[in-house]
Subunit: 259 residues, 2 copies
């Protein structure tokens, strides 16, 4: 059992939870909680840490048969957790590596293309809600928040394990490749005059979503095949990015159900 | 100028920001930032506090003509703010008092009925997204988060000033009154078998949304005229409450646009 917060593995785990660079250098990320652990693909598991009290509970026995684990004294474990109520189990996972072809796979992919999205909760919520709507992949500009940020991971509620994604150094070039693959690209944009539901999303489709404060840059918006509008009543000028993405993806899902 | 954090008004302001009971006792709430202040109804403004540096900026002069204000030394102001980056202006506002009749007003009201919703970000996001979709009022069980929590206020981005709402001690009884007023009530529920878009929301409609962890209680769900399903693909078992509410409200908006 690990009983000291100055144990090297504990220190490394801390820095993996806190620092995007460390995660990237090591090619891993950290998940928290029994629910995430249950859904985690076993072949990506590298290391598992459980608190002493978690390890001692009968109800956790079956879950703990999934992989070898290291027990950590409760006070040390508590310091590690990114949340106020630590859930007793943390796992270090290998970062999956997806290609653009995997993101574009399938007969009628439904994609999100994200430019400089900053809020981890928004990104996680989009992926979770998106999976429900049939989201098949995500393309992120290199200026987006780190998808392995613990807040993103938590908000995905496990969808992170199932939705392929790629970061791109050159978003414009990647969008050109996406369009060459026959995907229609739609930008929610002030220039849009037609309501989103007047477009047909039953074929290969991608929604371009911009930064929370600034929206899409002109360079990226100009690449879209169509601008669309999410009509807004009252004095609302914009929607939360995860709400906008969800409304568009569920409209695509609605249309795809009725085909 | 207020230069001491032990000034009585500063202490009161702190407790209004932190404590629901204090807000309720005084019948007020606190808004933060120039954008919220700009949209705030002037007849509800009670007191305005600005940081010394905010008060000294030429670009803020016009905004500061809206109401009398008290200048607060920067270090004292910084301690007051609920956010890490204080925006230089705080205002104490009178809590509006709405009746159920006001919430039900209009030819075809579009309502949210919330049971024990806990997350302030969810509530604020629903109200903001809802206003854009034509939400006309909100009914909250007394077990819901305080709508005047600064995190709710911030997430509404000003919609709090425009959407009427009521808290009810007896949610079941209030739902009966809503139904007597001719409003059709829809519960997103596991018992729902038909996808939400197969219902018609162009007449008086209300969506029942439950607690984030537990959903609607049976008692409340049983009162709904219809159960509906938000179909979910992949392994997604539920949606974030604000995403679910937004998907339903934007479907209502879509139907209402095409009438």
């Amino acid at each position: 059992m690990i009983t000291s917060a100055s144990n090297n593995r504990i220190k490394e785990l801390s820095s993996l939870l806190e620092k995007s660079k460390e995660r990237s250098r090591a090619g891993v990320y950290v998940i928290e909680g029994p629910r995430m652990y249950e859904e985690a693909p076993v072949f990506d598991l590298r290391e598992v840490y459980v608190s002493e009290s978690f390890a001692s509970k009968e109800k956790n026995r079956e879950l703990l048969e999934k992989h070898d684990y290291e027990v950590v004294a409760d006070p040390v474990f508590k310091k590690l957790s990114a949340t106020q109520n630590p859930q007793g189990i943390l796992a270090v996972m290998a970062q999956p590596v997806y290609t653009l072809n995997e993101v574009l796979a399938g007969e009628a992919p439904l994609l999100l293309i994200l430019e400089d999205l900053q809020d981890p909760g928004n990104l996680g919520t989009m992926i979770r809600a998106g999976e429900g709507a049939g989201l098949s992949g995500v393309i992120l500009s290199k200026g987006c928040v780190d998808i392995y940020n613990p807040k993103v991971i938590r908000a995905t509620m496990g969808s992170i394990f199932r939705i392929p994604f790629v970061y791109t150094e050159d978003l414009a070039e990647t969008i050109r490749q996406v369009k060459e693959a026959g995907v229609k690209t739609y930008a929610a944009h002030l220039k849009g005059t037609a309501a989103y539901e007047t477009f047909t999303f039953t074929e290969k489709s991608a929604f371009l979503i911009g930064n929370e404060g600034n929206g899409l840059t002109d360079e990226i918006a100009n690449l879209a095949d169509s601008y669309l509008k999410i009509p807004m009543l009252g004095k609302v000028e914009s929607l939360n990015a995860s709400v906008a993405a969800s409304v568009l993806l569920y409209e695509a899902a609605r249309q795809r159900r009725s085909v």
